[in-house]
């Protein structure tokens, strides 16, 4: 017999809400439940840390990786268009 209280959220539900949480898209009661859970739960606190770290790391993938072949083709198309108009 567990003490599950309706106003509380379990870890399994919380991890599903994290993207909405980070975007500020949760309604206030739900957001409050998430925050209160994060105050006490070490597992979810670490999970959120990892979730954020993953997002931050993804940002570092933004580099320009344009293959040379593609670059040549597009330059050709550009010159073609420039001379045509």
């Amino acid at each position: 017999m567990s003490v599950a209280r309706p106003e509380e959220i379990a870890c399994r539900q919380l991890v599903e809400l994290l993207t909405e949480f980070l975007e500020g898209a949760l309604d206030e009661p739900t957001r409050t439940r998430v925050e209160q859970h994060l105050v006490w739960c070490p597992g979810c606190t670490e999970y959120l840390r990892q979730f954020r770290a993953t997002i931050g790391a993804s940002r570092r993938l933004a580099e320009d990786d344009l293959p040379d072949r593609v670059k040549e083709n597009l330059l050709d198309a550009f010159r073609h268009w420039r001379h045509g108009s």
Binding site: A10, R12, E16, A57
Partner: protein
């Protein structure tokens, strides 16, 4: 970071005062358009480079392979250049570019008999060998239903600073279903805001969030086993 655009509906502005064409564009956009129209190669290449990955990813939601997506992107550029003279600047340049791109992708996808509605493009994940490192207690657990059974192991901070982390993230993003890959690329790699992504891909905020969440969850999980290892 591009300015946030109001959500819902198209970017089109109501008829503006006759300040001249392109008057509704941001100064950066206006400068880009003017340079392109005057045939400036450097501007063109810079724009291509900045948007290439995002355009390929966006196209991949509609066509069968990355190779085809690359072709679609090149076709789209032709369409963009040809449409430049008539571009009135009623919406941001990138939004207009991506509309042309998505149209090309849809037509190309259609030609290859793959006209599946966007939401139905959730393909089966080809996994099964990757086992979760964490788990939850079942709903009938006597004391803590739904709580962590085996919680996430703490990550060593230096792991994520490692170049290897990026390799793994990239690999996992490649493995995602196309629609999840599109959204996480535009949001988390290219740093678009959610309204721009919804506009470009023609999906709702709610749908976009679901896709983004699934994608992020998988990427985090793919990192979990490796990032928690302690180097001796």
């Amino acid at each position: 970071m591009p300015a946030a655009v109001s959500s819902g509906g198209s970017f089109e502005q109501p008829d503006a005062a006759q300040d001249g064409p392109l008057s509704l564009l941001s100064p950066e956009d206006r400068e880009l358009v003017e340079h392109l129209r005057s045939g400036d190669e450097r501007t063109f290449l810079s724009l291509v480079e900045k948007n290439h990955r995002a355009m390929v990813r966006a196209a991949m939601g509609f066509v069968a392979s990355e190779a085809v997506a690359e072709e679609v992107v090149q076709e789209a550029w032709v369409g963009i250049l040809q449409g430049l003279a008539k571009f009135e600047g009623r919406c941001p340049l990138r939004a207009w570019m991506f509309r042309i791109l998505i149209n090309c992708a849809k037509m190309r996808g259609g030609r290859e008999a793959r006209s599946v509605p966007f939401s139905a493009l959730e393909t089966e994940d080809a996994e099964g060998e990757r086992r979760a490192v964490e788990s939850f207690r079942p709903p009938d657990d006597p004391r803590w239903p739904g709580h962590w059974a085996k919680g996430p192991e703490r990550w060593a901070d230096e792991r994520l600073a490692d170049a290897e982390a990026l390799v793994r993230i990239k690999a996992e993003i490649e493995r995602l279903p196309p629609n999840q890959r599109q959204v996480i690329t535009l949001r988390d790699i290219e740093d678009w805001d959610s309204a721009e992504v919804c506009e470009a891909l023609g999906i709702s905020e709610a749908n976009q969030r679901v896709l983004l969440h699934r994608a992020r969850t998988k990427v985090r999980q793919a990192l979990a086993g490796w990032a928690a290892e302690v180097t001796p």
